[in-house]
Amino acid sequence: MKAKKIINDPRNVVTELLEGLVWAYHGRIRKLEGVNALVKTELPPGKVGLLIGGGSGHEPLFHGFIGENMADGAACGNIFAAPTPDVILAATRALDQGKGVLYLYGNYAGDNMNFDIAAEMAAEEGIATRTVRIWDDVASAPPERVDERRGIAGDLFVIKVAGAAAATLDSLDEVYRVTAKARDRVRSMGVAVSAGSLPETGEPTFTLGPDEIEIGMGLHGEAGVSREKLLPADALVDKMMQRILADLPFRRGDEVCLLINDLGATTMMELLIVNRRVRQILEQEGIGVYDTIIGSFCTSQEMAGFSISLMQLDDELKHYYDMPARSFGYTRA
């Protein structure tokens, strides 16, 4: 069955959603001419640039995370498709102030290749770039192949820390170091209970039976670790937390930031029920929670489901995490 969506011509969804986003920012961001790239209207002079990006359709990720002490710009692809090198390059040029630009995005083949092509083009123009790929999804590959894992909602933590680092640190290498450290300490896992659909076709991106769920399913319907009958929330959270905690591993005495993310169509009621169980488990494991974020940050259209992300803190990460941040999709006072 085709999904009901509140759109105009399906071919214009990205253009139109970006226009709407620019309005929502009240002049703080602008769209570059001729490409789907958004950048801050005012960039502090001499700053290391932070460019994020990826496929559209996951709002507020990525372009909704441009802002003060957050990203400086975003390269926006079509729905669920990596941005093209010309878009990334245009954004890179707009953000470079002689200190270079950090590329920060989720670890997907399309994003990797397009950002790499853009990085080569930028290098030919004398613009320095470095790259951090986010690979927080523990369900997508075993720990020894961590660089094959996908990036999911843990993106938010890494962008938060990177934005603060890029706002205060003077060198691209230092911003890279802190960002990579944050990336290496984030672990996530998701579960899908029903599919989202593509605006261009109205078709669901995968099919699950009426009482089926997929544990560890990716943002675009990529296979997870197991397909099961729908479980009660606590049993589901137990399975996910077991995997997340064992992976880093998180240990007794650790302090973490916690994100419970809605994939698009899961209610706050359900997220809070999930949070209750997550906290019971963390309490039992002796892991302290420094901050909790609950809501829609990394979505996949009307996909129903949620993900749990943890970031292990140290003093340095806590410092950057604590800096105020202001963006459309995430704000910290």
Binding site: A82, P85, M113, T205
Partner: protein, 178 residues
């Protein structure tokens, strides 16, 4: 006599034929993608080849490298995702040793396929057996290399058959990249 090569004007016609064919295959490609991915492949490819078509129609035909670069840049900048990067890289990388050439013959076909294959593998790190376009491209490139002395009209069907067989073999493979 079998046709030995295509002229530049004929090569443009061939590429336009491909552009139209890819746009006409939009639903088929999306349907295939839905089985293994998120079902947007046809949308992106149709968009990319529509742009490639208008670029080809809007510029005078010059040499093979310009034609393939034109298609490659159109795909690279308008398909998006992994598909745009690899198809764009194939066409652009394949143009590497075609500078100034005006005859699309068996040697040019082999040059395009082999250089394109190398560029795609450097970019995407895929090997034969990873269930990617490399599984069709690599046998086609090998066959083309072995047939450079044949007229294009005789080489091309064999090269296409090699690609088709490579594609068929992917049905039993498990995807490991992308």
């Amino acid at each position: 006599m079998a046709k030995t090569h295509l002229t530049i004007a004929e090569t443009v016609q061939m590429l336009l034929h491909v552009c139209r064919g890819m746009q006409a295959s939009k639903d088929l490609l999306s349907e295939a993608d839905r089985a293994i991915g998120d079902g947007d492949h046809g949308v992106g490819m149709a968009r990319g080849f529509e742009v490639a078509q208008s670029k080809l129609e809007g510029q005078p035909a010059t040499t093979l490298d310009v034609l393939f670069q034109t298609v490659g840049m159109a795909l690279l900048t308008s398909v998006g995702g992994a598909a745009g990067a690899v198809f764009g890289t194939w066409f652009r990388g394949g143009a590497r040793n075609l500078a100034g050439r005006e005859h699309f013959d068996s040697a040019a076909l082999a040059s395009w396929l082999n250089d394109g294959l190398q560029a795609v593998q450097e970019r995407g790190k895929a090997q034969v057996g990873d269930k990617t376009m490399v599984d069709a491209l690599q046998p086609a490139a090998l066959r083309a290399q072995a047939l450079v002395s044949l007229p294009l009209e005789e080489a091309l069907p064999q090269v296409a058959e090699a690609a088709r067989q490579g594609m068929e073999r992917t049905k039993d493979m498990v995807a490991t990249v992308g």
